[in-house]
Structure formats: structure tokens, C-alpha cells
Symmetry: C2
Subunit: 719 residues, 2 copies
């Protein structure tokens, strides 16, 4: 790619960013858009709609920037939980890394690269027609002693990142502990989920659980609630909900047509009062629901799984950590999620079935990864215009126009990739949900890793090693030659990834601020619904699509910082944008839906370690290729020590992210002993792990609109 193509791409995207920022600054002040831009503030009642118009509303104002900038970590922790803090710390961490790497890259490596003379066609007078390779390591001659500067940079940055990783892990670990120690008694701290419950003939799951835990945990066992198969019920209830909201709508709007003909297509037959009709159907459905509920409550529909609550956190932890039965595939225990975080559909309980579904999901992920290569290969074709011209000769006339060719090489490939990538997180979330996880948080955590590795494989490796799937796989089956192959392929794609950072990174972040899709959606449905009466749903941040993106840019930055330091300024801009925008979104848009208390951090940590080792492999290959084998050999200890460092972190910090230690649990339990509200908490605990589908419903009796417990409970657990 030429410098001019990059400049074109840069111009387009900077323009887009400025446009999005300006539009956002105006649109967010329009009351009609408040549901899109400040749903959280609305839900918390912190916003008064003033319907009279004033001029100020049309002038873009940067006050939101100041507010986002001033947000402290403690405020964020209080408002959005530890997960949001961890997310922001990831951006913070990346900023620090690339500030350090950026200084080295831009002020040391970039001049060194430019002063090289390996590429002969460098013409500084006409920069825009130069290849971007001038700024990369490709421009340094083989065997040049200048490469030792790159070597030192690799060492320096690795040490810096490892130190930072250590402090970050320790900090988040401490935060997690203090978060736990400061928390109020919460149901999931006292509860475990038991699966694969063996049921003797003639007994029910409930009896079996009661007998087992009264026998083996008599002093701490409190209560249990068996999980039931409620798929049918859930469908009925969602029907009822739809009908109910239509009814409410009808009532509130006196102008609407309240009669329709009862015949075919509503065209023939006698006129019927719509309101009565809806009410009648709703009552029928509710009757069905009640019937079904009492049926489900019978033993026949019991799933062999139950939430078992204990009188103390320590008691629950003991039951979770110790293998209960002599057959380890029975009475399988795991920590319970928060009650509203439970993912009730697909509640698989059998050990074997979960194992098989896990295998199936792995195979599905591999298939998806392979099939996804098709669009990637197409995109690759676009960056090589000459190839495109060979395959489609009729395009030659268009492609000769400079602007068109620059847009095509600089912008279009990334955009297409971006659109395809948009579909991946929901698909991966779907995969994770059938894998047998019991909570939305666990599903998103698993989807986060899946999306991350998918991105690394399908964007990084597929772009670097363009070719057939089998060619790519064959590279990894020949580990000895990986560094050499990486070294020849990775630097060649530097310009593509610089463009990728600008297009995908900048645009996606600023469109995140602008919330294009929710805005469009809100605009489309506004004429048809009365927004005032509609249930306001505050969105939760989908960590599984945002975190992998940031981590992938970190990977790009780490692997390319010594090859093509030009990528670093663009990355820094991206991270700065992200820093301010995500803070703003946490204040105004996203409400936390669950709290994993920082369990996403280990994913980020592992990803950075992987990036480091990948960078080392590339460095080994590059130094060999540039014929300074001594540097190549001296780079070898780096991945070894990085992996040892990772192993140490795994031992030192990871256990705290899986379960809380006995020390903290007992401290909390002892605090509670003197708490007068505990009896009340225990009595609430008994019923809290109840499938929302099994709660009594009564829409039809509600004369006026009530925010029924069912609606709010199920909306948060099903979405």
C-alpha cells in the first residue's frame, strides 16, 4: 500500500470520527433520543425531559467529554461494578504499553528504519508515492548492526509489559478481594449448583437432594430448589407478555382503532371489541400457564440439578471444593451465579451430555473458523489490485481512477471484514450457551475467549498467511519453521494492519459512541410505538465483542511495534478514543447485568502473553532472515522467560479468580454473625433461585399497568 492510500483512509476515517462526535454532541441532547444515548440515566430517573425547545440543543457541546474524563475509578466501581473497572483498566494498561512502545518506536526505531537503504525506490521528495515499507524494518539492510537497536527494543518492551502485567494482575486481584470483603450478603455467595444428581427409583430429585445434604452437611445446609424443564412454559409466558403489552398499549392510546372484524384476515365477520378480544386470549393463555406450572411442579419434569443454599459462605465453599460422591461424575458441584444471571433455557444436567455438547461446540467453532476464511480470502484479493485486474479484466477502467483504487485498497477490505466480524460474537455466544454454562456471565466469558481466538486466527493468521486452509494448518504442523514463515509473511502485511487499525478501530469506537444501530432502530420504531409507555431496557455492555477487539489491537501493536512502528500512533489514537468513549458509555448507556468481579482479566492476561510470545517468534525469524543469527539466538530466552512468568502468575493470582480463599470467606461469615438482618436474608434465600417461568403471573387482573415482577425478572434473564 502506498502512503497516499493510507492518507486517504486516514482522511475518511478522521472525517467519520469528527462527524460521529459532532452528531453525538447534538443528538444526545434531543429528548427523543434519550433512550438511545442515556438509557441508564433515564432508568435511574436522573434525567428530566424538558419538551420546550431551546437553541442550546443544536450546538454541539463537549461537556460530556469533561464528565467522562473526570470519572474516578471508585465512581465507576460503584456505578458499574468491578467488571467495568477491569475493562477500563485494560484500556489503561494498553495505553501505557503503547505509550512506552510508542516513544521507542517513533523516536528510535522509525528514524533507524527510514535511514536504512534496503529498499531502493525510496524518494523522500514524493512521499505519498512511497510504499509504507520505507518506515518498516524491511528498509534496514541485512546484517546491519542497526538491527541490534530493534533487538534491544524487543527486550525492553517485553520486560516493561511483563512488569506492568504483574502489577495489573496484583492490583485487580486485590480489588477483587476487597470487593468481596465489602459486599453485602448475596445469594450466590451462599449457594452452589449441583448437577448429575442420582435419583433412586421411587424417589424425587428434591428428596434425594434433601437426604444427601442433610446427611453430609447437616450443620450448614439450608435449603434447595430443584431446576425444572420449562421450555414450553417459557413460550407460553412470552406469548402472554406480548399480548399484555399490546393490551396496555391499546388502553393507553384512546385514538387507536379498538375494533376489528373477527373473520379471515380481519376483513369479514362481525366487529369485535379488540380490547375484550385480547383480554379473553390473555386469560386463556394465563390459564394454560397455570396448568403447565402445576404440571411442571410435579416430579416428572424435574431436571437432575438443583441450587443448594447453605447457612454460610464457608459451608457453600466446602461443598463446592470437595468431591461429594465416590463417583466424581455424580453430585457435580459448581458455584452458583447471581440469581438474575442464571441462564434458564438449555439447562443440561447430565455429565455425559454436557461433555458431548462441549465437543460438538468445539467442532462447530472449528468449522465456523474454516468457513469464515472465504470472505477473508476475498478481502485479501482487494488489497492486491493487480490480481483483481487479472481475474476481472472489465474492472480495469474503474480501477485506474486513483481515488477508487485508493478507497478499494485502503478502506473497503477492512470494512468488509468488519461487517463479517460483527456477526461472530452473537454466533459464538450461541455456541457457548449450548455448551452447558449456567449463567449469562459464564457464557459471555467463554464467548469472549472464543471470539478472541477466532479473531486472532481469522484476521491475523489468515491475512498473514494468505492461502488455502490446508496451507495454514500445515504451517502449524511444522513448528520448526514457524518463525521463518512468520518473519517473511508478517512484515509484508504491515500496511494492511495499519489501515485496519484506522478503519476498524477508529470507526468502530466512534460508532460505539454514536450507537448507529440502536439509533436507527429507535428511529424506525418511533412512529409505531408510544415510547413513553414502553418498557425501557437498559443495555449491558457485551464484553464478549468489545474485549476481544481491544485485545486484538493490543496483539497487533505488540507484534508490529518493532517491525512497523508507524502503527503505534494510530493505535494510541484508537485507545484514547476508546478511553473517553467507554467511560462515557458506562456513565450514560450501559448498566451492569451481572458481576463476575473481574473474572475477565485472566483472559486479557493470557492474550497479552500470547502476543508477546508471537512477537518473539517473529523476532527470531526476522533476525535470522536479516542474517544476524546471534540476535536470533539471544532472543530465544525471551519466550521461555515470558512463559515462566506467565506460569508464576497463574499460580500466584489465578486461584483467587476461581474461588475466594477460606480466610476471606470466614472473615465475611463472622461479620454476618452479628448482623440482625441475616434471618431475613436466609428466608429470602430459600426462594430466590426460582425459574422466573414458575412465578405466579396475573396480567389480566392488573387493571392498570404494573411493572410486574415477572416482566422485569424474565427480561433480565432471557435477553
Amino acid at each position: 500500500m502506498l502512503v497516499s492510500a493510507l492518507v486517504t483512509s486516514l482522511a475518511i476515517n478522521s472525517g467519520l470520527c469528527v462527524l460521529f462526535f459532532t452528531l453525538y454532541s447534538i443528538l444526545r441532547k434531543q429528548p427523543s433520543n434519550s433512550e438511545v444515548y442515556i438509557p441508564r440515566v433515564l432508568a435511574e430517573g436522573g434525567y428530566k425531559k424538558s419538551s420546550h425547545f431551546n437553541l442550546e440543543r443544536l450546538i454541539p457541546s463537549p461537556d460530556w467529554l469533561r464528565r467522562a474524563w473526570k470519572l474516578t475509578e471508585d465512581d465507576l466501581l460503584e456505578a458499574s461494578g468491578l467488571d467495568a473497572v477491569v475493562f477500563m483498566r485494560l484500556i489503561n494498561f494498553s495505553l501505557r504499553v503503547f505509550l512506552f512502545a510508542g516513544v521507542i518506536g517513533v523516536f528510535v526505531l522509525l528514524p533507524v528504519n527510514c535511514s536504512g537503504d534496503a529498499l531502493e525506490y525510496v524518494d523522500f521528495a514524493d512521499l505519498s508515492n512511497n510504499s509504507l515499507d520505507v518506515f518498516s524494518i524491511s528498509n534496514v539492510a541485512s546484517g546491519s548492526s542497526l538491527l541490534w537497536i530493534h533487538f534491544s527494543a524487543v527486550y525492553l518492551v517485553t520486560i516493561f509489559i511483563c512488569c506492568l502485567l504483574y502489577y495489573e494482575y496484583r492490583y485487580i486481584c486485590e480489588k477483587r478481594t476487597s470487593y468481596f470483603l465489602a459486599s453485602k450478603p448475596q445469594p450466590h455467595q451462599f449457594t452452589i449448583l449441583v448437577r448429575s444428581i442420582p435419583v433412586p427409583v421411587g424417589s424425587s430429585v428434591s428428596d434425594s437432594v434433601e437426604r444427601f445434604f442433610s446427611e453430609y452437611h447437616p450443620s450448614t445446609y439450608l435449603s434447595h430448589s430443584v431446576v425444572r424443564r420449562t421450555n414450553k412454559l417459557q413460550n407460553l409466558i412470552s406469548d402472554a407478555k406480548k399480548l399484555y403489552s399490546r393490551l396496555v398499549h391499546l388502553k393507553s392510546d384512546p385514538n387507536k382503532q379498538k375494533y376489528k372484524r373477527s373473520g379471515t384476515f380481519g376483513l369479514f365477520g362481525p366487529k369485535v371489541n379488540l380490547q375484550d378480544h385480547y383480554k379473553k386470549t390473555l386469560e386463556d393463555i394465563e390459564e394454560n400457564v397455570r396448568l403447565e406450572q402445576s404440571e411442571v411442579s410435579l416430579a416428572g419434569e424435574e431436571v437432575r440439578a438443583a441450587f443448594v443454599s447453605f447457612k454460610s459462605r464457608y459451608g457453600a465453599a466446602i461443598a463446592f471444593h470437595l468431591q461429594q460422591s465416590t463417583n466424581p461424575t455424580r453430585w457435580v458441584t459448581e458455584q452458583a451465579p447471581e440469581p438474575h444471571d442464571v441462564y434458564w433455557p438449555f439447562f443440561s444436567s447430565s455429565f455425559i451430555r454436557r461433555w458431548i455438547s462441549k465437543l460438538v461446540v468445539i467442532i462447530a467453532c472449528i468449522l465456523l473458523t474454516i468457513l469464515f476464511l472465504i470472505p477473508v480470502v476475498l478481502v485479501q484479493g482487494l488489497t492486491n489490485l493487480s490480481q483483481l485486474e487479472i481475474y476481472f479484466p472489465f474492472l480495469t477502467s474503474i480501477l485506474t481512477i486513483t481515488f477508487v483504487s485508493e478507497v478499494i485498497t485502503g478502506y473497503l477490505p477492512s470494512l468488509i471484514l468488519l461487517l463479517f466480524l460483527k456477526m461472530v460474537p452473537p454466533v459464538m455466544e450461541g455456541f457457548s450457551s449450548i455448551q452447558g454454562y449456567i449463567s449469562n456471565s459464564a457464557i459471555q466469558k467463554s464467548a469472549c475467549s472464543k471470539v478472541l481466538w477466532f479473531t486472532v486466527w481469522n484476521i491475523f493468521f489468515a491475512t498473514v498467511f494468505s492461502g488455502s486452509v490446508f496451507y495454514k494448518i500445515s504451517i502449524f504442523l511444522d513448528p520448526k519453521n514457524i518463525p521463518a514463515k512468520l518473519a517473511s509473511a508478517v512484515p509484508a502485511q504491515a500496511s494492511f494492519f495499519i489501515a485496519y487499525v484506522v478503519t476498524s478501530g477508529w470507526t468502530s469506537t466512534s460508532s460505539e459512541l454514536f450507537r448507529i444501530i440502536p439509533l436507527l432502530w429507535s428511529l424506525m420504531k418511533r412512529p409505531f410505538t408510544d415510547s413513553k409507555d414502553d418498557e425501557l431496557e437498559v443495555p449491558a455492555i457485551p464484553y464478549h465483542s468489545h474485549m476481544p477487539r481491544i485485545l486484538f489491537f493490543v496483539l497487533l501493536g505488540i507484534t508490529y511495534f518493532f517491525l512497523a512502528p508507524l502503527i503505534l500512533p494510530f493505535l494510541l489514537v484508537y485507545l484514547c478514543l476508546g478511553y473517553i468513549i467507554y467511560r462515557n458509555q458506562f456513565i450514560n448507556v450501559y448498566a451492569p447485568r451481572y458481576e463476575t468481579a473481574g473474572k475477565f482479566w485472566p483472559i486479557a492476561h493470557n492474550s497479552v502473553i500470547f502476543s508477546l510470545v508471537l512477537m518473539h517468534a517473529i523476532a527470531v525469524g526476522v533476525f535470522t532472515l536479516k542474517s544476524i543469527p546471534v540476535a536470533s539466538t539471544l532472543t530465544f530466552p525471551l519466550p521461555v522467560f515470558t512463559l515462566l512468568f506467565n506460569e508464576y502468575c497463574r499460580k500466584r493470582f489465578l486461584p483467587n479468580f476461581i474461588a475466594y480463599p477460606a480466610e476471606s470467606l470466614l472473615k465475611k461469615d463472622r461479620q454476618d454473625e452479628n448482623d440482625p438482618t441475616m434471618p431475613e436474608f436466609y428466608s429470602k434465600l430459600v426462594g430466590v433461585y426460582q425459574d422466573p417461568a414458575l412465578m405466579p403471573i396475573n396480567f389480566s387482573a392488573n387493571g392498570d399497568r404494573l411493572n410486574s415482577p415477572l416482566l422485569s425478572a424474565s427480561s433480565s434473564s432471557h435477553s
Copy 2:
């Protein structure tokens, strides 16, 4: 190798076996050898020495065979513990596998191979000059449909082995549980070892432990004993022991010279009463020991580790399973070994130090493996006589003698390998002991895996891929081509491994019966010591040298059964020998030194799984090489399903081999509640984890010979 060479080797080894058996049958009846052949029976007092001679003693009698044959599993369990049962079941398991594979191999595959015509120089009239390859798969022509018989055999045997593995794992798992449920209260069930104890300034380890466990485990905590650094003390005590035994010896033998001169070399100076002299020195040493003991008991010599005992097994299990501190590298808990199984020297406590010593041991193992290749390469040279003749032309005249060349190709290589291999288990045990294990059993278990992988790498792979170390490593760095390389290299070494089974397997087992080294040792020292008064030490079976050997033969059998089925009869003979001989040794020779309750089985299981997958890889390669790619493709699912099966077993059975489940623990604890002997047990428990070096000694005061507690305790923990 020619058939005749194999026959020579066979003849030599059969002769040796018969010789060993006959000699054993005679020698074991001589009272003077009773310490070598029936130390266990002696120690248990079940043998009356009759010194009067009778003729029967000189006639070999097979009564021991009958006794060994009749031994039931329950008897074995009672006499030698569950580990011995597991060991015998491994032989049993192998026998069943190779009986099944043997029937298929000898009656189906062998005729098929012989009927092939790929090798042209087959001459059935003069069998002895035929290459052994006639009986192997090499003789089947490429593309022949006969190969589908081999394919079916691979499938059949894999399924058979997997089924057997499953039932065996389940059986041993059940045995382990019932063993635990039937056991008396034992100190190690109530105790855990805590390491990396943080000690505040101005406090001692003991205070720290007391405070922590009284605070966090108030209801179950019983007592603790801090580990102390006693290396110096141990040296002093061993000096005292030596002196004491010399003194006892002197006293008991009135004929010995009791005076020596006190000057240089005992030649000049006044005569001294030796007995008085020894007594004086002994008293001095004992004084030193007492001083040192009181010094060690002070806080300065405390190691940051302690054995912490609890009032119930469940309490100990909770403390073991739950992470205690917020820093997971502190208060690291693990299950305590049996008190006499504790390995007191090298008691490292720091988390980092143990981690580093583990890394050092891994590197040392790799180095040893690489250095060991030198003798293996030499041995390889011997099998290719023609090469040897080229390198050492002066040997040509000797090598032309048929018998010499047959001995050299058929017998010598295996013998040299055998001798070198003899040194590996003690070295590996040494490595394991500095790795930070706290018990002899754990050290032997770890050494067992090390020796096993060492054997597989250095005997199997080094023989198969003869060449430089780097060539071997390069093969494994190119995983795609492993099957092809295995397929071309493995069948070529069939004759070597058949000879290896006969020489190494048969000879080592029968020499195990004959106990050559202990016999020689006993013969050598008999003139110098009075055996009657000597401390009788009953040996324990070194599982870490015997188990890997059997498992390696299983690997050979599984990988070669379809390539060269001729190996199977020889293996079966080996296993039958092992079956009868080890049973005899368990009755007469070995006493259990510790009880892991079957923890060795997972090693055996994993090894068999590895053998299966290796066999599948070879099969894939061979079928490709023999140009039936369909069979090659159809073999692919086998390793996948084998690994999945292994994964299932790991989840289903392995947890029970690491710790007992809550169900069993509570059952046992409740049994004890009504046991009137428990208070006494608890009071004993307090002092049982005491370093033997810290126990009071008093040799000099013992006028007559006493079996002092120190002697027996330290002899069992130091050897």
C-alpha cells in the same frame, strides 16, 4: 537379524532362566541364604532355622511355585497392601491383553504375513537363514487386500484394551474406596502438610501456625509439629549408629581383638581397650547430638512448614482442598504422607524454591536423556555388523565366526542396554527427591513416570530413529510426518525388540527371582560380620524400576503386535514368568514400606493409552506406505476416540486417586465417633510427625542390645 541369531539368543536366555530357577530352588533352602531369599518371612518370625543338614536341601523343589500360584488377591492385599495388588493386576492386565492379541497375532496375522511374497529371498526349507522380516508385515505386498486383516486387528485390539482398561480402572477405584473404608484411623488421614508459612517479625513458625488454625479451623484443629532443619543432626546420629553397631559387634564376639594402639595408624602409642574407646567416643557424640537437638528445637532452625493435625478426616480434607490465604503461594496445603513415609532430608518449604528446583530437575532429566543416547548409539552399531566391520576392520576375523556374530547381534546389545538402564532408576529417584516431594512414596511415583518416559524415549525412539539427537528432535518438531517416519523405521527394528524382550525381559525377571546382587553382597560380607546379630532389613519393592519395565514391554507388545506378531509369544512367556516370580517375591522377600492405596495405577493407565495412540500413528503410516490410503484414513478416528476415552476416564476415576470424597470421609468419621480408642489415638497423633533425628537417643546406656526406636525409625525413613 536372522532367525538363527534369535534362536541363539533364545537358547542362551532359556538356559539362564532354567539355571536361575534351579539354583533358586536349591539356594533358598539353605539357612545361610534365608536373609536373601526370605527376609520377610524371617522378619515376621515365620521361619525356624534348622542347622542340621539333610539331603532334601540339595534337591530343587517346586513347592514355592505352588505357593505363589495359590496366593489369592485378598491374601496379597492383607500382606503387602493395595500397591502390591495394583502391581500384580498390571501384570494380570498385560497377560489378558497379550493373550487376546496373541491369539489374533499368532493364528491370524502370522500366517497372513508368511503367505505374503514381498520379500523374495524367503526360503522355508532353510528357516534359520531367513530374516525375521518374513514373519512381519514387511512380507505383505503393497496394496494387498490382506492388509485389511491387519486393519481389523488394530481395531479389535484397541477396543479390547480400552474395555479392559475401563474395567480395571473401575475395579482399582472401588478397591481403593473399600480399602479406605476398612482402614483403621491412621495419622496421615487426619493430617495435612502446610508449607510457605508466613511468619510475622518477632513471632515463630509454631505461633503463626497455632494462631492461624485456631482462628480459621477452631472446631477441628488439633495440633501441629513444625519441621526443623536437621541435616547436621542426621549426620551425627548416623555416626553414633555406626559406632554403636561396632560396639555391639565387639561385645558379642569374644574372640575379636579388643585392644588397639592409640597412636598414628593404630601402630604406636599405648594399647587402649577398644570397647572403652568406642564407648567414650559414642558418649561424646551423644552429648553433641543432645546439644544439637536442643539447638534445633529453638526457633532459629525452624523450616516454614508444619504438619497440622485435625480432629477429623473431613476437617483435614477441608483444609487441604480450600485455598487458605488470599495469597495462594502462602499456607500451601497438601495431604500428609504416612509418618514413616516422610522424606525428612531436603525439606524445602518456599514456594519459589520448590518451583525452581522443579525446573532444574526437568532440565537435568532432559540432559540425562540426551547424554544417555551415546551408549544407545554404540549398541545400535553392534546390531549392524557390516557397519562395525567397516569402522573396526581388525574385528572382521572374529566376526566371521558364526557363534560370535550371533552372540554379538542377538545378545550383547540388549545386555549393554540393560546394564546402562539399571543405573537410571536410582538417578531418577535422586532427581525426584530434590524436586520437593515430601514422601518416599511420592518420590518413587514421580521417579516411576520419569523412568518410564526415559525408557520410552531412549530405548524405543532412540532405537527406532537411530541418528543424532537433533535428528530425533527434528522428527517431533514435524508432527505431520511422524506417522510416515514411524512407519518406515519401526518395523525395521522388530527383530531387535524381539531379542530385547528375550534378553532384557526374561533375564531381568529371573534374576529378580535369583536376586543376584543381594546374594553376592550377602556372600561377600558373610565372612566379616556375624549375621545373627545384624539388623535384618526387609527390602521394599522399588516400584519405580519394576513398573516402567513392565509398562515398556506392554508398549512394545501393543506397537508391534500387528507389525511383527512373533513378539507376542515371547512377551507372554515374560509376563508368565513375572506373574509367578513377583507373587513369590511378595510372599517371601518384599515388605511394603508405604501405602499409596493404588496411586500408581493412573501412571500405568496413561502409559497404555500412549502406547495405543503410538500404535495408531504407526498404523496410519504403515497403511499409507503399503498404499491402501482408505485404511489409513479409517484408522484416524481410533486415536481420537482413544484420547476421548482417556479423557472420560480421567474425569470419572482420577479424582478418586487424588483425594477421598466427602461421602467416604464423613462415613469414616462417624464410625470413629463411637470408637472408645479415639482419645488415645488423638494423643498419639500429636507427636507422631516428629523428625526421627529429634527423638532422644541413648545408645551408650544400653548395656545389652536393644532394638532402639531410633534405629528402626530412621532406618525406614532414610533408606
